[in-house]
């Protein structure tokens, strides 16, 4: 294609590449202090008295929690770094929520269950092997930075899978569906990587 065109004097609005935190920034990512809002659709507003969270699919008994019941589940704090495939990374984000381990423990998993599909208010889906979600690797958060999670960032509750690109951390999550065979979610179907590990730069299918 020949030499790439460069716009004279254009730097772009990119924060720094990390300084002494550089070792915490995955390849190809830039550090940001903002919390950019990405979304495939309008922000759903879900009243807490109708909000619910379900676990179904390959379980012996589907589970359903109301907001009050969900708040009563064992919760803890997480401080994690998050990376979006659109190239920003944010360090030390502080969340409160319930681990996937604790949620799945409430449902009696069928041994055939290997994958989960997280599904959201608004219709978004994303897929994860169980092995990427268990052992404290993922959680459903309802507080961010000590305050209730804002709708723009996925509130009332969102999935957070900090070790994978952020499209796996489904905003407005309303349930987990357990399956035997992997089913690509919304962006995975459109060519994004099925796993999405930022440290391996697994951005696109085939990376």
């Amino acid at each position: 294609m020949g030499d790439r065109f460069v716009s004279r004097g254009f730097v772009g609005r990119r924060p720094d590449s990390g300084g002494d935190t550089a070792s915490r920034i995955p390849p190809g990512q830039y550090l940001t202090d903002d919390f950019p809002v990405l979304s495939a659709g309008p922000t759903p507003r879900i009243p807490l008295d109708t909000w619910e969270f379900t676990i179904d699919g390959l379980v012996s008994q589907p589970v359903r929690w109301s907001w009050a019941e969900f708040q009563a589940l064992p919760a803890r704090e997480w401080t994690v770094d998050i990376s979006c495939v659109t190239k920003w990374t944010k360090l030390d984000t502080r969340w409160r929520g319930v681990s996937i381990d604790d949620l799945l423990a409430a449902a009696d998993l069928d041994p055939r269950a290997q994958f989960l599909v997280a599904h959201s208010y608004g219709g978004y889906t994303t897929n994860l092997p169980l092995g990427e979600a268990l052992n404290g690797q993922a959680f459903v958060a309802y507080e961010y930075g000590g305050a209730p999670l804002e709708p723009a960032h996925g509130g009332p509750a969102r999935l957070v899978v900090p070790h994978l690109y952020l499209w796996k951390s489904a905003k407005w999550v309303r349930g987990l569906h357990l399956v035997e065979r992997d089913e690509p979610g919304f962006w995975e179907s459109l060519g994004y990587h099925n796993r999405g590990d930022p440290w391996r730069e697994e951005r696109y299918s085939g990376d």
Partner: protein
Amino acid sequence: MPPEPLVWQIATVSAIRGETERASSFTLSLPAWRPHRAGQHYDVRLTAADGYQAQRSYSIASPPAHTGVVDLTIERIPDGEVSPYFHDVLEVGDLVEVRGPIGGYFVWEPALGGPLLLVAGGSGVVPLMAMIRQRAAAGDTTPTTLLYSARDVDDLIYRDELDALAGDGLRVLPTLTRAHPPGWTGYARRVDEPMLAEVLAALGPDPLVYACGPTLLVETVAAGLVNLGVPPDRVRTERFGPSN
């Protein structure tokens, strides 16, 4: 004839003209110029030395009759990534990567008729100005009203040219949302449904509407027009995005 593929090309900035304190027009000379339709836009792509890119759309301000060049009128958004580059960095002779002309829905030409209601907020006037310029260049007399919302008189882009073009069936109705000069007799508030009703009543039945500018303004106009009984398929919108 198969359409030519839409490809990026390197344009040269051949002139820069201040329009208002915050908006300037940039004339781009294009190696592969193609005729455009009023209302279409170009995509602009900036590339940093390390490959980082930012891309935005800018409407064509010039009428199709200007061959070889297009004028883009760009408002400087203080915290913006791309618009300040045009205002603060670009000089005549610089190169910019663009592709276009783009779009086939938000376009008008005299054959589409009217009566025409054009509603603009801020730089949303740009594609509508291309329509007004084309209407004038073609000697077309379609009854046309431009309802144009801006902060104050000095923020009205193309003010002198609009004054000069008014008449021959063209009414220009600015509405000033922040400040207005003493003795101002025009509208002095944000566009709302009663304002749209007044403007429509004066324009005549079955109008064709183009509304362009910040998303909230376009939303207000689109909803207001539906309430006023304008069929949705007579209303074309171009949202520029949120403004803060």
